[in-house]
């Protein structure tokens, strides 16, 4: 999540204030390697980030149990020339569990499962903007095990607006949604432009509705 701010607080701070944040050791190592990219939160992360690591003994066993082949992922196969409807298929794939790539995502899935299985948590929100990670792992895990929901950063920001509308301005939240919507832009094809425009329009519509409904119920607060 970028170092974006709402009501003068970075989204990281909001996240830690709102939730019991946990992630895997592997993910923390990746984050530590990228701390130089942060400005405001760098020192805070160095001091506190490690405390959020969820220590799951024998996590490799969990990983092998959860992601043993065959795994299936939903991939786009074609697009109808007439109506533009996308064709999907379930594609079998075998992740190389020895490879470091995607291990952070897989281990986070293990932690989500373990957190519920241990009875310490009742529901999990799996926060990620990695669409490939969702397609390959999180979708399967969250569709199979009723753990909770997968959120993107845009969902999280929408949630913050709902919870703290008195402190966060509508225009401010829209600005942050616009910025998050740019994460992972690699090309500007007409399809990509449409996809990102639609997504942003959807979230604008959500925060507009939240704003309208709460205005009516709370009289502007």
């Amino acid at each position: 999540m970028k170092e974006l701010q709402l009501s003068r607080r970075t989204l990281h701070h909001w996240l830690w204030d709102e939730f019991d944040v946990k992630f895997s050791q592997v993910l923390w190592e990746e984050m530590e390697n990228n701390l130089r990219l942060l400005n405001t939160d760098r020192r805070w992360f160095r001091r506190n980030g490690g405390r959020s690591v969820y220590q799951l003994p024998a996590i490799d066993t969990w990983e092998r149990a959860l992601f043993s082949p065959p795994l299936y992922r939903k991939v786009e196969t074609s697009r109808c020339r007439r109506c533009g409807q996308v064709g999907w298929t379930k594609q079998a794939f075998t992740p190389d569990l020895n490879e470091r790539e995607d291990r952070g995502e897989r281990h986070n899935c293990c932690i989500a499962l373990a957190a519920l299985a241990s009875r310490r948590h009742k529901q999990v929100i799996f926060l990620t903007d990695d669409s490939r990670g969702i397609r390959d792992y999180a979708d399967y895990v969250f569709n199979t095990f009723p753990l909770g929901q997968i959120w993107s950063s845009m969902d999280f920001v929408t949630y913050l607006f709902l919870r703290h509308r008195g402190r966060i301005l509508l225009e401010e939240v829209k600005g942050v949604l616009r910025d998050i919507n740019l994460i992972g832009v690699s090309n500007a094809s007409p399809e990509e432009t449409l996809k990102r425009t639609r997504r942003l329009a959807d979230y604008y519509s959500k925060v507009d509705t939240i704003n309208t409904v709460l205005s009516q119920c709370h009289g502007g607060n």
């Binding site: 533009g84 740019l182 007409p190 990102r196």
Partner: protein
């Protein structure tokens, strides 16, 4: 395997491929075919631009490939602009400036600013400033420009464009009939160019007698407002004949979705200020590509409510009906006929036979001009290369050939 013949468009009685899928490189090459209703809408809009004083903010929306960029190119040709009858009062002239939405958000305002200035041409700007000074006098012109830019320095810088510096250091009105051997004046103009392109050093500013340069988005849009106002003229608003119309045609505004808030806000704010600063004789046409059913919601998301609220006209580049598509192909072919065409006595849609062209159009999944062009070019090329058209005006494209190509396409899709 069939041996393919060389591609010779002359055999189809065409000077070249009429079905280009990219906009022409030069406006002079742009032709208009079919789409009569759309053309009438645009002509009416531009006629109003020439005969009334109100500023227009136009949203041109349509799918990818629906002809928005082509329309911008077409109307950049001066002879394409619909001029009203002499008896109707109209502006003395107009200029169409075409600008693409910058792809690099961090340089967006700078790129946009430079593109508009270059679209207006420095020499023309100088002429316009000179006209203003001649008509109103030096001091009132200076005051007018300082008011227009809301800045003493920016206004003065524009005012200086109307002058040149003699060797004695005295400022005299710029004379474009003089040859370019006056190095003092050339240096003066180079200094001003540097100033407007934010390259002026503190020494340059001193020579120009200006306190500050053009810095930041707000300054750039203020200067643009001032320069466009020079073009428009400074007489009483109602006197149409003594004004010019500036038509700023911005393409690909859907790309604003790629602007982070840091760059999006000042850029769209700049566009809004430009509209608000120029309440008369200014047209801003905004091309916006969208293909979703929630089109208007998307436009609002990308452009913002404030900009959308300023829209005075909307033109929808809708998909043509089958009949309109047929007319479009016929008209387009007409623009590229060889001299032999009239002697051959073939139909207007040659090399197509009527049923073949109707079937080709009916088979199209989408009927934007781009889709029509793609398919027509493909079919004619196939006909030329496989010998269906074997010589100048010999052979034609029949419905069987269209069906055969369609079958082969479906087979390819299935594989």
């Amino acid at each position: 395997m069939t041996k393919l013949k060389p591609l010779n468009w002359n055999n189809a009685l065409l000077t070249q491929n009429p079905f280009s899928t990219t906009p022409p490189t030069r406006p002079e090459e742009a032709v208009w075919a079919g789409f009569d209703k759309l053309k009438t809408q645009l002509d009416n809009l531009l006629t109003r631009a020439h005969t009334t004083n109100a500023t227009q903010v136009v949203l041109n929306r349509g799918e990818y490939g629906s002809g928005k960029t082509h329309a911008a190119f077409f109307y950049r040709k001066q002879d394409a602009l619909p001029l009203p009858k002499r008896s109707i009062p109209h502006v003395k002239d107009s200029v169409v400036i075409y600008v693409k939405t910058p792809r690099q958000p961090e340089l967006a305002d700078e790129y946009f600013y430079q593109s508009v200035i270059e679209g207006m041409r420095f020499r023309r700007i100088r002429d316009k400033v000179k006209d203003m000074v001649t008509t109103h006098g030096e001091d009132p012109a200076l005051e007018f420009l300082q008011d227009a830019t809301e800045s003493e320095d920016l206004g003065k810088a524009i005012w200086l464009l109307g002058f040149e510096k003699e060797q004695s250091g005295r400022l005299t009105l710029f004379d474009d009939t003089e040859s370019f051997d006056d190095t003092e004046s050339d240096d003066w103009q180079r200094l001003l160019r540097s100033y407007f392109f934010s390259k002026a050093t503190s020494g340059d500013l001193k020579k120009l007698g200006l306190g500050r340069g053009v810095k930041g988005t707000q300054d750039r849009f203020r200067v643009l407002g001032g320069l466009i106002q020079c073009f428009i003229g400074s007489n009483g608003t109602e006197d149409i004949r003594s004004h010019s119309r500036v038509i700023l045609w911005i393409d690909e505004l859907e790309d604003l979705i790629y602007y982070s808030t840091k760059y999006y806000r000042p850029f769209t704010q700049g566009l809004r200020e430009l509209i608000d600063r120029l309440p008369n004789y200014f047209s801003m046409l905004m091309n916006f590509t969208l293909a979703s059913p929630e089109a208007l919601e998307d436009v609002e998301t990308v452009l913002g409510r404030a900009l959308l609220d300023r829209v005075t006209d909307e033109i929808y580049f809708r998909e043509p009906t089958e009949g309109e598509s047929f007319d479009y192909v016929r008209d387009l072919l007409q623009h590229y006929r060889t001299e032999d065409f009239s002697k051959k006595g073939v139909p207007a849609i040659y090399p197509f036979e009527e049923k073949a062209l109707s079937t080709l159009i009916a088979n199209l999944p989408n009927r934007t001009p781009r889709d029509i062009n793609l398919q027509c070019a493909y079919v004619i090329q196939q006909a030329l290369q496989t010998g269906i058209i074997s010589g100048v005006g010999k052979g034609s494209i029949k419905v069987d050939f269209i069906n055969e190509l369609e079958r082969s396409r479906v087979e390819d899709d299935m594989q």
